[in-house]
Symmetry: C2
Subunit: 336 residues, 2 copies
Amino acid sequence: MKGINMIQLAKELGLSVSTVSKALGDSHEISANTKKRVLELAKQYKYKPNPFASNLRKKKGKQIAVIIPDIVNNFFALAVDGIESVTMSKHYDTFIYLTHENLEREKSVLEHLENGLISGLIISVCTGKEGYGHFQQFYENTKLPMVFFDRVPDLLQFPKVITNNYESTHEATLKLIKSGCKRPVFFATTEPLYTSIERRRGFQDALQSQGIAFSDDMVVNCSDDMEENYNTLRKLFMSKKRPDGVFASIEKYVITAYQVCKELKLNIPKDIKLIGMTNMRTAALLNPSLSTLAQPAFDMGKEAATLLLKMIEKKSYAAANDIIVLENELTLRDSV
Amino acid sequence: MKGINMIQLAKELGLSVSTVSKALGDSHEISANTKKRVLELAKQYKYKPNPFASNLRKKKGKQIAVIIPDIVNNFFALAVDGIESVTMSKHYDTFIYLTHENLEREKSVLEHLENGLISGLIISVCTGKEGYGHFQQFYENTKLPMVFFDRVPDLLQFPKVITNNYESTHEATLKLIKSGCKRPVFFATTEPLYTSIERRRGFQDALQSQGIAFSDDMVVNCSDDMEENYNTLRKLFMSKKRPDGVFASIEKYVITAYQVCKELKLNIPKDIKLIGMTNMRTAALLNPSLSTLAQPAFDMGKEAATLLLKMIEKKSYAAANDIIVLENELTLRDSV
């Protein structure tokens, strides 16, 4: 016999695996007689304990899930690093689930997590149109602690970690206007995310404060299809109503804007000034260097994880309405 | 009573949850009498089935784990997208685990996965010094299908998806030399990864083929600490033995090299020519635009997932020695 595992031992002895396991671990719950039977057969078969199994038991329940839209995005990648900086030090395992901006996938992940293996969730929602009833339903079914960050369901009573999207977009838009933009536009996601709505509001109010009339065509909706975005921007930048400034609220649209300007030989910042919400490390190295409004991604992840572990470990922790607001950082470079 | 779940129903009836579940699902395994008892009590308590539970059962076992070092790296982020392009279409759930280049963490993830929930693994190993015995041990304990990609344990008999690291690094190094470099250096990871060894061999052989003597100080080991890397490169680029060319085998070192050159006012490509292994979308937009050796990250993930699902679904599939080799793509831009 090449080797025997605990299940086979249990079968041969007519005992449960749990009894065999406890007997091998010399548990006080098991009679001396049973222990003797187990140990003798184990010896006979040269039973070698699975080195992983005992560790596994110790870890039961030290697991959290992180649900995010995307990782080909520096913001979420850094946020995950922030989350893990906390969870690893507290010996929690982290499962990462990507929704790819697909609501059905988001629901399916929640279904999967209902099996009770995890002790809490950290979530940044995808751009769904249907609202967030599935999160409320999940909570009612499981009562698991949940913390949302960045893209949060604004109307649900869960703890949240967000940033000052309204104020910081307002400030960035003012910089565009004060550096000479008269027709700035706002690159947005199509779907009505809370973060986008706040940013858009900051953009609009900044225009208004400077006497620039806002019109709907100043909001350019981008899709998840890169080619479609490329064509949208190409058309916009070639049109008579070409904007002279852009506030891009999503990282990938910034890169597309640079690519289109390069192709059309438009000069940044002379023809178009640009500020992008992004955490990309190459911002200062681009040609020209990119002005950024950066979210404190790592810290947001860290705060969310700290809050979640508090809720998990002190079961009485009443955090349902906690909202932690961190500040975005505006860095002006050559693109403005 | 606010509502009752299946566990409470089972308790009150003195039945197992599984029996109650089967009774509610009208299973032929359950006697008519038991079904009647269950349904009557369920009706009495206005039992509402958990909408997630039945879906959950259907999905049992349709889960794979992906173990990678890092996601703040375009290569791994794109590879995960490639993996999920396959797994999502086949209705597998994907768990992502990050090892953060930490061998203990890698072992701990494997321990966690021994609980049998998943049906297979896709892995890119971390930079451990101890070899890969823990993967072999995991396989012996679980017999779960495993596919490695990019960073593979070269001596273990598992299916692998890799790229032509030797040939493509050889080609890229030749381009550096032919564009005038006489003292190129190779930026490497400290740890002896198979991918690094192959790339380094390609670099050395290219030098030799052009009559340039190789010396150990032509390999610059970078660490995972960004500040340390910055200081290493700063010192190197200020030294008398300043290299006139760089082949950077890891994405994050490319960005650091640009930052240091910017600070020291060194001109790329005049003072230092640079080719980086990277999948970053901003490569063509950097100042100057970056010459890249890009791995087909998305396709590698796709191939790995396709292979793994084959192994899972056709249990007889003998792929233990399959090695799929894809080609890296060299794109020369202004940095050379």
